[in-house]
Amino acid sequence: MPTIRKIALNVFAWTIVLAVAFPLFWMLVTSVKPSFELFRRPPTMLPETWTFEHYWHLIERTNFLTYFRNSVILSTATTLVVVAIATLGAYSLVRFKYNGRESLAFLVLFTYLLPSVVLIIPLYLLLVNLGLANTIFSLVIAYTTFALPYALWLLRSFMAGIPEDLESAALVDGASRLGAFWDVILPQLLPGIISTALFTFILSWNEYLYALVLVNSDSARPLTTGVMNMLVSAFNIEWSLLMAASVMMSVPLIIVFAFLQSYLTRGFGAGGVKG
């Protein structure tokens, strides 16, 4: 029966949507409930009293804004570095012919396959020896090491989808190689660059483990470890503040997602469709 099928499908889809959306809803609701209402039984679906005191508390009396600024700087810098290197690297891997090209591409991916726990201690020692420990910059380097391989492969498949004739035509038309790259390749690669940038930004924004190990001064902490450190202790979890912080952490990502969502899905499909 088509109608039954339709209803079943709808129920199924909405169940998934609810399962994903409810925690977000609960986070939002908890963040605007006064603390005394949190543990009431039965729980209130919507707060009886609305309050934004947790948000004000975070902004005015904690380091939240410092962490937020650190995260923005960190994620933006990582994204810029990764996209710049990955774009040029992908161009090289696709357009130039040299020995070991394929092995190189594979080796790059290989680092991505290792669990980060294995890499974190050597990386930590390396950064300490470089005198970069406890800086935002050390995290930029660390995030680049694991975001770059994936970004490189993603951009590589996008790059492979750009016809070589376009570049040849630009060369014959009088462009230099760099000119052809700038005039013809980059505009074609834009969707790929946007999805790679999004991917890298989200990865850096949400990263926890490296930030925990590599940075332990408040001035350099990003949001993830900063909030955790501030609000979650062995004895107590500040649920209201934690939820308010979570909401504020999610807002930038939700905004970026809403605007660039179509590019992102296109990016994830690139390997299969264009490869």
């Binding site: 004739d165 040849s168 035509a169 014959v172 009088g174 230099s176 074609q188």
Partner: protein
């Protein structure tokens, strides 16, 4: 003065040799086609001329200047790609203006040139469109416009018509020939379509396996193919090739194959007895009377003529071409002979060279021009015609 000269140009990709020591001299203002099956090295040759590939050895000259180390953009050439390679993010006007922009042409002059080119190719209405909003034929004209706009010394065209439908292709052939006549520029045209090469070129360079097989005007390529490959590649339907033996009795040459024996004459001095191959074009298979019997297998009607595929008793297949009003049917046995003035003899092997003397077809000077005996064919049935 030669506009384009290849001197012993060789191109290797790793262990694969795409072009073997190519020597080719194209005159200024000439329309030359590089013709051959896919993988014959014609596109590699063109790309080397464009500067997109570098020859492993040898020299390439454009207008008396060796261009081996000259960047593509500085060779004063323009190229039309098979895929058109229009810049998708630029409008038609920006696409056509791009070569001028890269050469620093002032804006006012650029706009004037683009307008003139658009006018010439009837693109004026489309100047603000993006390439994806155009039909295949329109995209093709934009690609042509981008090549025309800066009046280069040499035009390179890489199968520019192969993505168009048959009707438009025929139309564009005429347009291109007209354009060539009007501009008087050297054009090098790569194609695997012999019809394009035959109809448009001043000379055709037939290539196969990275080697030049023949470089001659279309009629010569058709009437005096240099070797067996050229003979079989040029012409639709193809030339029938019959493997057999050549023997010599004094001044007389005799070609013999299963069921066929034919006196041939006027071979080159270097011809020697042994395995050889007889080539007959479809229009030189005379169906209706003659000493050989063949069974009609297929009759293809094209409207103005019929293509008839016949099988001899030896299993050898022949293709003939006859004017349209004929009533032969598959299964019928007919008698046939060859037009002795227009048969060819080739040496052994897939690229056996043509043994007929230049300008002469086999059998032309022979007293008994055709003497075909069919030793082991069944008694001929009377052909109904």
């Amino acid at each position: 003065m030669a506009a384009v000269v290849f001197s012993n140009v060789r191109k290797e990709f790793g262990s694969f040799t795409a072009v073997h020591g190519l020597d080719l001299s194209i005159a200024e203002g000439e329309f030359v086609s590089l013709l051959g099956p896919s993988g014959c090295g014609k596109t590699t040759t063109l790309r080397m001329l464009a500067g997109l590939e570098f020859p492993t050895s040898g020299e390439i000259e454009i207008g008396n200047r060796v261009v081996n180390d000259v960047a593509p953009g500085k060779r004063d050439i323009a190229m039309v790609f098979q895929s058109y390679a229009l810049y998708p993010h630029m409008s038609v006007a920006q696409n056509i203006a791009y070569p001028l922009r890269k050469r620093g042409t002032p804006l006012a002059e650029r706009q004037k040139s683009v307008a003139a080119t658009a006018e010439l190719l009837q693109l004026t209405e489309l100047l603000n469109r993006k390439p994806r909003q155009l039909s295949g034929g329109q995209q093709q004209r934009v690609a042509l416009g981008r090549a025309l706009v800066r009046d280069p010394k040499v035009f390179l065209l890489d199968e520019p018509l192969s993505n168009l439908d048959a009707k438009l292709r025929g139309y564009m052939r005429v347009e291109l020939v007209e354009l060539h006549r009007r501009l008087g520029r050297t054009m090098v045209y790569v194609t695997h379509d012999q019809l394009e090469a035959m109809t448009m070129s001043d000379r055709i360079a037939v290539m196969e396996g990275g080697e030049l097989q023949q470089f001659a005007p279309p009629t010569e390529v058709y009437e005096e193919p240099a070797n067996r490959f050229v003979a079989s590649f040029i012409g639709t339907p193809g030339m029938t090739l019959i493997d057999g033996d050549l023997s010599r009795d004094g001044d007389h040459w005799l070609f013999q194959a299963d069921g066929i024996s034919m006196a041939v004459a006027t071979l080159k001095d270097n011809a020697s007895p042994g395995p050889a191959c007889l080539g007959v074009r479809p229009e030189h298979v005379l169906i209706g009377e003659g000493p050989v019997n063949g069974v009609i297998q297929v009759v293809e009607k094209t409207g103005h003529e019929n293509i008839v595929v016949l099988e001899l008793s030896s299993g050898q297949r022949l293709t003939g071409r006859v004017p349209a009003p004929q009533s032969w049917r598959p299964g019928e046995t007919v008698q046939l002979s060859f037009d002795a003035d227009h048969t060819h003899v080739f040496g052994p092997g897939p690229r056996g060279i043509r043994l007929n003397r230049d300008g002469v077809s086999a059998g032309k000077a022979s007293a008994p021009p055709l003497d075909i005996a069919n030793a082991n064919t069944p008694t001929p049935r009377k052909a109904q015609s």
